[in-house]
């Protein structure tokens, strides 16, 4: 398959949340969330209850995919940073480690310069964690370790979902 299955474990999830919570404080932002390129929300911190993060995640991924398509048409690999400026709130969207999308929502209590600076630092930390996550998933697959919850599901389990 074109890209391997995305798996998230407790340990890395905590580390990732620690990094984006720190970024939330240091960049003076309102909400931060991480999305995989397929549009699945990985995690979010800050004022997330105020927003429909599932829809935001899907649209962010669509946005990145569309601008990525534009980049290829003009001979660029990708546009790694997108910035959307609103009247009150702004979105800073960047690609982390080539596969995850980091979205920072901020208002006039912060600034684009500050957000860019802090995102850069956090991105490096996140890249390290995601690389480790990928290695871990590969190792587990190689060793044939199956803590996979779906290995033992029955047809009844599946049917029950639709009852």
């Amino acid at each position: 398959m074109s890209n391997p299955q995305m798996v998230m474990y407790d340990e890395e999830f905590k580390q990732i949340n620690a990094v984006i919570e720190k970024l939330l404080r240091e960049a003076n932002s309102k909400v931060i969330f991480l999305v995989d390129k397929n549009g699945q929300l990985i995690s979010g911190v800050g004022d997330i209850e105020q927003f429909d993060t599932t829809s935001l995640a899907s649209l962010t991924a669509g946005n990145i995919a569309a601008t990525g398509g534009m980049a290829k048409l003009i001979g660029e690999k990708e546009f790694s940073i997108l910035f959307h400026e609103g009247e009150k709130d702004n979105l800073h969207i960047s690609i982390v480690g080539g596969r995850v999308i980091l979205v920072v929502l901020f208002d006039n209590r912060s600034s684009l310069g500050l957000v860019r600076l802090r995102v850069k630092k956090a991105s490096d930390e996140l890249t390290t964690i995601f690389n480790r996550l990928l290695e871990k998933a590969e190792e587990k697959e190689k060793s044939g370790e199956t803590d996979f919850p779906f290995a033992e599901i029955t047809d009844d389990d599946i049917d029950n979902l639709f009852s």
Binding site: M8, Q40, A65, F150, D157, L161, F162
Partner: protein
Amino acid sequence: MSFINYASREINCKIVYYGPGLCGKTTNLQFVYQKTAPDAKGKMISLATETERTLFFDFLPLALGEIRGFKTRFHLYTVPGQVFYDASRKLILKGVDGVVFVADSQEERMDANIESLENLRINLEEQGYDLDKIPYVVQYNKRDLPNVVSVEELRRELNPTDVPEFEACASTGEGVFETLKAVAKLILVDLKKGK
């Protein structure tokens, strides 16, 4: 690919509705949206033109319930069916777990069906997927209209590999959930195999 989150005990899968322009992909999603309990669905997003033709995609998140303590979520997407939106269609297929091909049963749309199915196969291959190997079902839509082609002929042209197929009338909802259930089931069975 599906996203398994052990930390929040969630599993997310992506289903894409594909098919020629005006075959009823968006109508399928709209019906699912209308008939799903509010706590099991998110907002339906439609990126459409002023004349309600899909411009980029429709998106509907569904939470089906739990399997072995894992929340099972499906993200339903449609592609823009019109031929010239091919670049957008390719993007939406990224990371797909299962595909529904919605065919327009009307006689005059037969060529459009065949062209769209061919386009699906090619676009999937570009993303590294093989239509014959991924969870995939076919829906023959608009069965209520007078000028429809017989199911036998549709099958011959559009379903030579004999994947699960459903007759439907998406505007009244007939066959809509049967189609969705079938593809969701194929995806879960695939996950079970640990693919």
